[in-house]
């Protein structure tokens, strides 16, 4: 019954989205004010409808309605309430519905916070967002319907995948979707601008804040994913260059290029076409990522059930959105004339270089992700692993780290290169000294670690100096940028340490045995059986001590979820300021209680995520930029005045 209402609301949402696609843009072409004004109310309606649909699905999980196929497949009587709620987006159908709901939320927000846009602009933007929502709603309804009924209903469900019964997994997907979908605003602006054949600073300034917000969400989504993989998957890694991870990383890279180019194009009439193109690329990569993850085209550890029909559907959407936008781009971009000339010795040039570096990185990683497909097309099976990505990324990002401080140092419009470089030279020395100090402090570093640590110090030193130098400059945009760049520095340093100075040991331990790893003593006190909520576990007890002083007792688990018949390795971690101690159970070796125990020492790994959080904070701080607030208010006043005069 309730499921039928959900189904009905889903259909209504689709119809509303379709109407939103058609009406405002028709109004724009016919210059009909009434039709253009339908955009905002339709957007609010769309959000209310999709939210209601989504909440019904959540409710079906809460009341354990096993007549709904999606519910019994991903829940069970023994699943705790909190995971029943999150199971809603634990698998394909529900997560696409959540995607659409978040999309509708963004559309409603765009409708609400767009007073600085003229009616003809916002009507185009909302219609383009409408077509994106229509496509995905059709995808939910026709290829991933979560309200399908099983008759007769099973008595118990199959339970949620144990990997997803975890806090990180609860919030990681929604945040990532906020990021993906958020990039559709910049995309819609690009398409709307191409339809009209013109774009101005005000419009870019407006879209820049949405892009910043979307980028912030993507950043936190990726950090959480990485953190989750680290503590949940039990092999101590934080990034695997897995196709699904790349799917979230690609839009992030393109988005990074975009926000830097927008900084130029909102100030002057330059790089207009490039801004528009980057926005199209960034959102297209989100859809492409969805395709790769959901179609089963690429073999990945993140196994979503592969379904060729879904694959075709998303491929059609991708062809429609990206293909349509790029066709428009080909036809119209030459009308978006960039009239201002760019001086070679200026911030603008460096920001352009930044975007080129990031877009190169994007396409290199895209190529690596697609290589297996290219080879399969000619009948070979290969896999491209972390070494390729790691090396390529290192090579491409090296110039980024070198140039970053120079880009901040150079002034807008016109500057001289030599004085700027001279100002930065002392920091080169500081960074070199600190790197040498680190080299001895941490008993030697290899080439890549040295380069990474050096890059970290170089960026940090200059960013701090520039901050002090421009003390008077307290606008949010500058502070946000500095915080984000310090985040890059922190990330570079800690990532180099984590990657190259970690210790990994697999030890066969007898109960009572003590082994020494990196100066710590690990005493294995055997394994006991425990029963918790919906799983049984064998729980190890390992006492960590140093020089006879006990530090902590860790309890890694080997869990078994009876309903899913799936074992899980739950590591236990002692987090520290400069290092994590990470212990997980391998296999039971014999009946005497001997276990294979895996011990990792991960230096500075927390700092890495902290660096990511700083980038996120920087993006958020920049949203409070007074300059753009003031300019936006002026723009709102102009729009209001126009409207008054017209009426």
């Amino acid at each position: 019954m309730l499921a039928s209402i959900g189904q009905f609301l889903l259909i209504l949402s689709l119809v509303t989205a379709a109407v939103l696609t058609v009406l405002p843009i028709t109004g724009y072409f016919k210059n009909h004010k009434g039709l253009m004004r339908t955009g905002r109310p339709l957007s609010y309606l769309l959000f209310v409808l999709t939210l209601a649909t989504f909440l019904i699905l959540v409710f079906l999980f809460v009341i354990q309605d096993f007549s709904v196929t999606y519910v019994w497949q991903h829940s069970s009587l023994t699943l705790p309430l909190r995971y029943r709620i999150t199971a809603t987006w634990g698998a394909h159908e529900g997560s696409v519905l959540m995607w659409v709901t978040i999309q509708a939320l963004w559309i409603a927000a765009v409708a609400r916070y767009s007073r600085s846009l003229s009616l003809s602009q916002i009507s185009r933007v909302l219609s383009v967002l409408g077509i994106v929502a229509t496509g995905f709603l059709a995808f939910v309804l026709f290829a991933s319907n979560p309200f399908e009924i099983t008759n007769p209903a099973p008595l118990d469900g199959r339970d949620l995948n144990p990997l997803l019964q975890d806090f990180g997994m609860i919030i990681h997907p929604p945040l990532l979707y906020f990021g993906y979908v958020g990039l559709s605003v910049a995309f819609a602006l690009s398409v709307a601008a191409l339809i009209g054949g013109q774009i101005d600073e005000k419009w870019i300034r407006w879209s820049r804040r949405w892009t910043n917000l979307a980028w912030a969400f993507l950043t936190i989504g990726i950090i959480l994913g990485s953190w989750w993989a680290y503590y949940e998957l039990g092999w101590g890694g934080w990034w695997f260059w897995d196709p699904v991870e790349n799917a979230s990383f690609l839009p992030w890279l393109a988005g990074t290029a975009l926000i830097h180019v927008q900084a130029v194009s909102e100030r002057k009439n330059a790089f207009r076409g490039w801004t528009v193109l980057l926005a199209i690329i960034a959102f297209s990569l989100c859809v492409l990522g969805t395709f790769l993850v959901r179609s089963g085209s690429i073999t990945s550890v993140h196994s979503f059930a592969a379904d060729p029909f879904r694959g075709i559907f998303i491929l059609v959407l991708l062809a429609l959105y990206a293909g349509g936008a790029l066709t428009l781009y080909a036809l119209r971009v030459n009308q978006l004339k960039s009239t201002d000339t760019i001086n070679l010795n200026s911030k603008e040039t460096l920001l352009l270089a930044n975007s080129l570096i990031f877009i190169t990185a994007t396409f290199t990683i895209l190529l690596g992700t697609l290589f297996p497909m290219i080879f399969e097309a000619v009948g070979k099976k290969i896999s491209v692993g972390a070494p390729y990505f790691g090396l390529m990324f290192f090579l491409i990002m090296t110039p980024m780290a070198v140039l970053l401080p120079l880009g901040v140092q150079l002034k807008w419009h016109k500057d001289a290169m030599t004085p700027a470089i001279k100002t930065l030279l002392p920091h080169l020395l500081i960074a070199a000294l600190l790197t040498i100090a680190s080299y001895y402090l941490f008993d030697g570093l290899n080439l890549r670690a040295t380069a990474g640590v050096f890059g970290g110090f170089w960026i940090a030193s200059t960013a701090l100096a520039q901050w002090i130098l421009y003390k008077g400059k307290t606008n949010a945009s500058f502070i946000g940028m500095s915080v984000a760049h310090l985040g890059v520095a922190v990330f570079l340093f800690s990532m180099s340490m984590t990657e190259h100075k970690d210790v990994e040991k697999d030890i066969l331990m007898k109960p009572g045995q003590t082994s020494e790893v990196a100066g710590f003593n690990f005493t294995f006190n055997g394994v006991t059986a425990v029963q918790i909520e919906n799983y049984k576990a064998q729980q190890g007890s390992i006492l960590v001590s140093k020089a006879g002083e006990p530090i902590v007792e860790l309890h890694p688990q080997k869990r078994f979820y009876p309903k899913q018949q799936q074992p899980m390795t739950e590591a236990d971690i002692y987090p520290g300021l400069t290092k994590d101690i990470y212990v997980s159970l391998g296999e039971e070796i014999n009946k005497q209680g001997d276990w294979a125990v895996r011990i990792y020492i991960k230096p500075f790994i927390r700092w890495m995520w902290f660096g990511g959080l700083m980038m996120l904070a920087g993006a958020l701080i920049a949203l409070f930029n007074l300059r753009s607030k003031r300019l936006e208010q002026q723009q709102i006043n102009t729009v209001m005045k126009d409207q008054l005069e017209l009426s």
Binding site: L288, T299, L318, M373, Q565
Partner: protein, 176 residues
């Protein structure tokens, strides 16, 4: 003119990408061809679950049959189960289960709960026959002809689509 050409570069790259993705989607498979196809079914001798017999590979000669590898511990087998049931009910083919590495008590409970579509169930407690068949994960299904030759193999869950498009035509071909 040059400007227009440059403006179409992104579109051209994208079209290439779409073609690649499309080609891949229609040709991609996780399937690894089984080297056993065309070979005789490996020799076996197993007790059965309900009929209290001991059957060997020779007992099935004379008509085509389907060997479905399953276990009560395997969630995908449960997904596939209604389809296997439907297949057994609606066609004449003999459907034999290979209960793989399963406690007989568990298998019994599982079959009572979800129904027993099999004509016979061979109990492969140690998993020897599964190894000989090159099974690397349940469920797997083998189609064997009247002479005892493996003609077809499906790895993973049987679906109505696979049955209609691949399995039934194959059965048609080998049936006398």
């Amino acid at each position: 003119m040059k400007k227009i050409l440059i403006a179409t570069i992104p579109l051209s790259i994208f079209l290439g990408l779409i073609v690649l993705l499309y080609v891949n989607l229609s040709t991609h498979s996780e399937e690894l061809p089984s080297p056993l196809i065309g070979k005789p079914v490996p020799a076996f001798q197993h007790p059965t679950l309900y009929s209290n017999k001991t059957l060997t590979h020779n007992d099935f000669k004379g008509q085509p049959w389907l060997l479905n590898v399953f276990g009560s511990w395997c969630p995908s087998c449960q997904v596939e189960h209604p389809v296997v049931t439907q297949l057994a009910k609606t066609t004449d083919i003999k459907v034999v289960g290979l209960n793989w590495k399963d406690e007989p008590a568990d298998a019994n409970r599982w079959l009572q709960r979800w129904g027993n579509p099999y004509d016979e169930i061979l109990v492969d407690f140690k998993g020897d026959t599964a190894i000989n068949l090159g099974v690397y994960g349940a469920p797997e299904t083998f189609l064997i002809d009247a002479k005892g030759t493996i003609v077809y193999k499906i790895t993973g869950v049987l679906t109505t689509e696979i049955i209609q498009k691949e399995l039934l035509p194959m059965i048609e071909k080998i049936s006398p």
